[in-house]
């Protein structure tokens, strides 16, 4: 099995990196896995699978939306083709950043091709001027793939409706959660008066709607603190927007937050908000619930399709989101019930499940 990757913790841990590490750590015990990845360190780090570092400096994240990044991706894909070991039976590519190499390798060696779609250009752009050339690469990857894995039914729907791909080719496999990290705490439901946003600050994640909701809640509960944890393209714009609404003392920006700090943040907040415009999965929702912290999420957040014990609203409906936030802050029984039942529901998500279902996809080829 040859896996075409982009990032891997500890170096740059985006959602894609977390997925790659957790999934292949389990699959590596069962089948022979080689992960191809841009060379990010000279140190020898041990993984449960083979890692082949391609001599190339990535500089940047797949979430960045600039020209330079696009060229770097193309360069990386060229090198990948040469470095690839032709003895692999299956090629597994992840998102558009590994698609050009995946397609060429399939043609060259006549291998089976699996494509996991963690997000599409529509999601990353927040449906606002998606880049045509990236959409084209994604579509080509979907056409060339023998099987497609989508991280949610929400994403499967985008794949079939926006890219015109036969849905029979697409298998939905939800992400897992590192349960030990989050679920070992006992949440206490005394009011903390804190509302949490944790994620990249971008149009896709709907951070602007979080600020709007904060403004609307502030009229009723002036003492509630709204926390924005994370960085991103839109951070300055959001800071200015918050200031223009007079929320200097209400909204606080925490900047980058590590994984271990995030656990503390979830615990110390009454409720977690993800008003994403388009979120294929939303791992943070499961993390928050695992800790026992209730979540309010947009209807366009993929993981919501598998959750009953969260509050859901349209991302733009900040009146409704504000109503939910106030209710969670005012009504203790609501906090407790959403938290306890949510935690139970989140415990169903595990990387072991994700790995087993992925294995089924490999075996079907």
């Amino acid at each position: 099995m040859g896996v075409l990757g982009w990032e891997l913790p500890p170096f740059f841990a985006g959602g894609l990196g977390i997925h790659t590490l957790n999934l292949f750590s389990i699959l590596g015990k069962i089948i022979d896995i080689t992960l191809y990845i841009p060379k990010f360190t000279d140190k020898d780090i041990h993984y449960n699978f083979k890692v082949k570092m391609v001599n190339y400096d990535p500089v940047g994240s797949p979430y960045e939306r600039n020209k330079e990044f696009y060229q770097k991706v193309m360069d990386y894909n060229e090198i990948l083709i040469n470095e690839f070991d032709k003895d692999h039976d299956i090629i597994h590519m992840h998102d558009w950043i590994t698609v050009p190499a995946g397609i060429k390798l399939k043609e060259k060696y006549r291998k089976k091709l699996v494509f996991t779609v963690h997000s599409t250009e529509y999601d990353r752009s927040g449906w606002f001027y998606p880049q045509e050339r990236i959409l084209k690469i994604e579509k080509e990857g979907m056409m060339a793939a023998d099987r497609i894995i989508a991280v949610s039914h929400y994403t499967k729907k985008i794949i079939s409706e926006k890219f015109s791909i036969n849905p029979a080719k697409v298998t939905v496999i939800h992400n897992g959660v590192k349960s030990s990290l989050f679920s070992s705490f006992n949440k206490n439901y005394d009011l903390k008066n804190k509302v949490l946003y944790f994620g990249r600050v971008t149009p896709q994640k709907g951070s602007k709607f979080f600020i709007e909701a904060a403004y609307k809640v502030n009229k009723y509960i002036p003492s509630a603190e709204f926390i924005v944890a994370g960085e991103g393209d839109q951070l300055n714009e959001i800071k200015n927007f918050s200031k223009s609404l007079g929320l200097e003392n209400t909204v606080n920006f925490y900047g980058f937050v590590s994984e271990s700090e995030s656990v503390r943040l979830y615990l110390d907040s009454d409720v977690f908000i993800l008003p994403a415009v388009s979120e294929p999965f939303g791992m943070t929702v499961i993390e928050s619930l695992s800790v026992g912290t209730p979540a309010i999420i947009s209807k366009t957040t993929g993981v919501g399709e598998a959750l009953n014990n969260v509050l859901k609203a349209d991302f733009w409906d900040t009146d409704k989101i504000a109503n939910y936030i106030i209710a969670v802050l005012k009504y203790r029984k609501l906090r407790e019930t959403l938290g306890n039942f949510g935690k139970l529901e989140a415990s169903r998500f595990s990387w072991e499940n994700t790995a087993l279902k992925t294995l089924e996809v490999y075996n079907s080829l």
């Binding site: 009953n308 009146d319 109503n323 939910y324 106030i326 209710a327 609501l334 019930t337």
Partner: protein, 377 residues
């Protein structure tokens, strides 16, 4: 000759409106009357009108119950139904059961309030149909000896409740029994009732499709004096749409019963012609809802209990004309988080999207009332 005792319950709550926290102190319409009207009109067309017409045409004697708050809404939105009811009673000698007027949870909390509700229900039914009805069925078949004791203060002769698994393991539901206070008690035969109300159109069911011959055979082979078929009135035409063939089934069922030596009777007629088989005492509350058949459909989780406690605490200050409608069991039912099979039943009936939304609405309304009428206490 064995008797088929059919009892159909018709009820619709006055649903609460979508009430956001931001509406507190501003909005005053707590009830979602637009939605209530729409539902009453739809169900009248799908179920009440065609079913009552059919029952009237065959003059078949059965026992019905229309909750007081359903009748209020029918008078307002679909008065043809109460007219049809009158015609049916005249044609068939059918019976109307008595219940808590507001289809409320008052019976397990406040005997005085509960008695007032039942009296109100008796009075209004006597006024309309000019008859004393003496069969009592509490909200959603909620029952225990305690309830029997309370209704003993009224002129009640017969009571209906669920034949739960633990009861029917000792008592065949096909007989009539006596309560500790000497009322005749009828136990629902839930298997034969649910064959129609839940399973009739279920293609996964190994008995699908259900024809009247097969069903009447089951009834005739089920040993005892009575077959107690208690179900939602809306089974006919609403839960089971006319496309499923439910009306053709009902017609054939009524028409052919005599060929199987079965006869339709109201609860009261059955009680008058059959001797009870001993006494049944029921200590804990039972009901016909969900798998556990207890109070958990309404007061099973912390959110439901929270609402009930707050509502109880505000009894003295909220005006009665609002308060009565808040005690209706449905508002609590919508907040059930249920067990997996039940949650699909609950969400089928839930107009708010989720149990949490139902809680937030109701809780916001209580908050508004508390601030408005109870000086915030």
């Amino acid at each position: 000759m064995k008797l088929i005792v059919m009892f159909l319950e018709a009820h619709q709550p006055r649903r609460l409106s979508n009430f956001r926290y931001q509406d507190i102190g501003i909005r005053e319409n707590y009830f979602w009357d637009e939605k209530n009207k729409e539902i009453i009109k739809r169900i009248s067309q799908n179920s009440y009108i065609p079913t009552l017409s059919l029952l009237k045409d065959y003059s078949v004697p059965i026992t019905l119950s229309f909750s007081g708050i359903l009748l209020e809404q029918l008078w307002k939105y679909e008065p043809t139904v109460p007219d049809l009811l009158k015609e049916y009673f005249k044609a068939s000698g059918g019976e109307m059961a008595i219940e808590s007027y507001y289809h409320s949870l008052s019976s397990i909390w406040n005997p005085e309030r509960f008695l007032n509700e039942v009296r109100k229900d008796m009075d209004i039914k006597k006024e309309i149909y000019d008859k004393d009805f003496r069969t009592f069925r509490n909200t959603e078949m909620i029952y225990s000896d305690k309830i029997d004791e309370i209704v003993n203060q009224l002129n009640v002769k017969n009571v209906l409740t669920e034949g739960t698994d633990s009861i029917i393991s000792k008592y065949n539901p096909n007989f009539i029994y006596k309560t500790p206070f000497g009322h005749n008690i009828f136990l629902r035969n839930y298997r034969l009732s649910d064959d129609i109300s839940f399973r009739f159109s279920n293609r996964e069911w190994n008995e699908y499709p259900l024809f009247s011959e097969k069903y009447l055979n089951w009834l005739s082979n089920s040993p005892g004096d009575v077959i107690n078929l208690f179900m939602d009135f809306e089974t006919f035409g609403e839960h089971q749409r006319k496309e499923t063939g439910i009306f053709e089934f009902l017609e054939a069922f009524i028409e052919r019963a005599k060929d199987y030596n079965l006869k339709f009777a109201t609860v009261n007629e059955a009680a008058e012609s059959i001797t009870p088989r001993g006494q049944i005492s029921i200590k804990e509350y039972i009901s016909w809802a969900d798998i556990p058949r207890d109070m958990s459909a309404w007061l099973g989780n912390e959110l439901q209990k929270d609402l009930f406690e707050i509502l109880k605490s505000l009894e003295k200050c909220i005006p009665e004309e609002i308060y009565n409608y808040l005690l209706t069991s449905d508002h609590f039912y919508y907040v059930s988080l249920g067990t997996t099979p039940d949650i699909t039943v609950h969400s089928y009936f839930n107009p708010y999207g989720s149990a949490y939304d139902a809680y937030i609405n109701f809780r916001n309304i209580l908050e508004d009332l508390r601030l408005r009428y109870c000086n915030g206490n």
